[in-house]
């Protein structure tokens, strides 16, 4: 009986609390009803497209069958078993993170270097031309890039049939040797995406006030010293933002790159299988929604904690750059 009372009391408390809150929300709603109305369509869309699937994650813990669908019996952690068999989990986790780290590093170093050099070139028209050409691959789809890579590396491709005879190289079967792909993948990715970074950093450089350079010249600073102590420090915030954004995505791989470019060659899996392709393949080959959801759950959750971790460590280094 007493317990009952407390329940009612807490209920009342909740009611009171919401009552107190409701008018405020209503006031805000009526004051800004047009703004809320604007927000409504995208709000609903995001809820459906992004939030509803989050609830679907329960499938990862179910022995999914098509009869009961979401009401399928619970399965504990059994769906995760296959992920941790045959070292899959380790390989795909390692590949995903390692490639992303390499991409972040290369993207940063190469883009900043090229941007600085482009900026220093004497002939500005030529510099513009270079920039345009380097930017071109960014506009191609991964399907096209797969075609391009294939035309060079296939057994009948440019390398084996045109370069090998001329330069007396050894013919290589690229699509059967996983070891080469640890290099090919970063090259292809850099080739395709670097133009974007260059544009960003060039924009950053153009925002630097010329007076700094003039002052440095008066002080007798060499070009190299100017770059070292003016250009790069000015670019650092931009570099940090770009890197933080990338770290937030470190547990997500570019599906197009890893799905299209190695052309789903089984032998290349040890060095080209990443989380995203693994989840897709799990769905396609096992056809088991529970098991591929389990892989997806692993990605979402571990990825989420990695972002939190990254954010926390950034906070330790410099508070102002924290993401949230």
């Amino acid at each position: 009986m007493g317990q009952h009372n407390t329940n009612i009391e807490t209920d009342l408390h909740v009611v009171k609390k919401t009552k107190r809150k409701t008018p405020e929300l209503f006031k805000e709603l009526s004051k800004n009803k047009e703004l809320f109305l604007m927000l409504l369509p995208p709000f609903i869309f995001i809820f459906i497209n992004n939030y509803l699937p989050m609830f679907g994650i329960v499938i990862a813990f179910k022995n999914y069958n098509y009869n009961d669908a979401f009401l399928s019996p619970w399965n504990g952690l059994k769906n995760f078993e296959f992920l941790f068999k045959s070292r899959s989990a380790w390989i795909i986790t390692r590949n995903t993170i390692a490639y992303n780290l390499v991409f972040i590093f290369l993207g940063l170093i190469i883009a900043v270097t090229i941007a600085i050099i482009l900026n220093e070139l004497k002939n500005k028209t030529l510099a513009k031309f270079y920039q345009s050409v380097i930017f071109l691959p960014y506009f191609l789809s991964w399907v096209v890039v797969a075609y391009l890579v294939y035309s060079i590396l296939s057994p009948n491709g440019f390398y084996n049939k045109s370069l090998v005879p001329i330069l007396r190289l050894l013919p290589i079967e690229w699509y059967t040797e996983p070891k080469y792909w640890t290099v090919i993948i970063p090259i292809v990715n850099t080739w395709k995406t670097i133009g974007y970074g260059i544009v960003i950093y060039l924009a950053g450089i153009s925002g630097i006030d010329q007076e700094y350079y003039e002052a440095a010249v008066l002080d007798g600073a060499s070009k190299f010293q100017q770059i070292k102590s003016i250009t790069i420090p000015f670019l650092v915030p931009l570099m940090i933002i770009t890197t933080i954004m990338a770290i937030g995505n470190i547990f997500r791989a570019d599906f197009g790159l890893f799905f299209q470019v190695p052309m789903q060659q089984g032998l290349l899996k040890p060095t080209t299988e990443v989380l995203d392709t693994y989840i897709y393949n799990a769905l396609m080959f096992s056809g088991d929604l529970g098991m591929s959801s389990a892989a997806g759950f692993y990605q979402s959750v571990v990825g989420f904690f990695l972002v939190l971790l990254a954010n926390w460590s950034i906070g330790k280094i410099s508070k102002e750059h924290k993401i949230f």
Partner: protein
């Protein structure tokens, strides 16, 4: 006088002609590396099939033949339809995407809007956590019934957290509250302000996210792979992907439309046909590229400097 000295010194201090030369050479090589693969597949697409099998891929075909293109043009309807799908989806998707992104970004960019933090987090959280492929697929097919519908190609990239945050940052920095306030005093509704003040003032950022959208829709093959069943709804990238996987995609109805059985025509080009398909798929983006690039860089520059 001083200026002159500085200028002279500055010039003296710029990179030496020798270094400049070295860089020019390096860049030329890099540019070749960017363009050569495209040229290669073009050359392969105009190589004679038999000589391709014998000599492999080369920039200098021993025998030139346009039969791959002749072949593709015989069934041009398929390619045209794929282009139709791509262009239609691209236009509708981009317009909707820009509109929805603006509708969401504008209120949350207003400091006077009390719940802006809640809504900002609402969109930001989608970057942090996702349901994953399977639940998303089930939602789209089982509950929204979008399988084999072009809407399945349009909806997914419609509102992305990245675009919203770019626009929000831009609006917060470039849209003085004073202008909006005076419009409000004049009795303008928020919708009117949105359409007649906010949108015109945001053209640069709209161009940027618009181009992001165009690129996302134009280069999409993944959504097509997941959701599209009937060939009539294939977009151009997916058609290219199919052609790369199986030459039958290009030959099945082509052979039929020949209506001729001479043994010459039986020699269906294989590899060269794939590459011709790739060239036809790449074509428009290369031609639209100069225009694209200009606005893209403009938008990105604004984003980079302001953001």
């Amino acid at each position: 006088m001083v200026g002159k000295v500085i200028k002279k010194k500055y010039e003296l201090n710029s990179i030496s002609s020798k270094t400049n030369m070295v860089f020019n050479i390096l860049f030329s090589i890099y540019c070749i590396a960017c363009l050569a693969p495209l040229l290669l597949i073009f050359m392969v697409s105009i190589t004679d099939e038999v000589s391709l099998v014998e000599n492999g891929y080369s920039f200098f075909p021993s025998k030139i033949s346009f039969s791959a293109y002749q072949y593709l043009f015989m069934d041009f309807e398929k390619i045209l339809r794929a282009y139709g799908v791509t262009i239609g989806v691209c236009v509708i998707g981009t317009v909707l995407s820009v509109l929805l992104t603006m509708l969401f970004a504008y209120p949350i960019s207003r400091k006077s809007f009390k719940y802006r933090n809640f809504f900002s987090f609402y969109i930001f959280f989608t970057m942090l956590f996702q349901g994953g492929l399977v639940p998303w697929y089930i939602l789209y097919t089982r509950y929204l019934r979008l399988e084999d519908s072009l809407l399945a190609l349009i909806l997914p990239p419609l509102v992305t957290a990245f675009n919203v945050l770019v626009v929000k940052t831009y609006l917060a920095a470039n849209l003085p509250e004073a202008i909006l306030e005076s419009a409000r005093i004049d009795g303008a509704s928020e919708f009117r302000i949105f359409f007649s003040i906010v949108i015109p003032l945001s053209v640069p950022v709209i161009a940027t996210i618009g181009l992001f959208s165009v690129l996302a829709y134009w280069n999409d093959w993944y959504l097509c792979l997941l959701y599209i069943r009937s060939p009539k709804n294939y977009n151009i990238q997916y058609s290219m992907y199919q052609a790369l996987r199986s030459i039958e995609f290009l030959t099945s109805s082509n052979v039929a439309s020949l209506g001729n059985t001479s043994s010459e025509l039986l020699k269906v080009p294989g590899e060269t046909l794939r590459m011709a398909m790739a060239i036809i798929g790449i074509g428009p983006i290369v031609f639209a590229y100069p225009f694209f690039q200009k606005y893209f860089i403009k938008g990105l520059t604004i984003g980079a400097v302001k953001g």
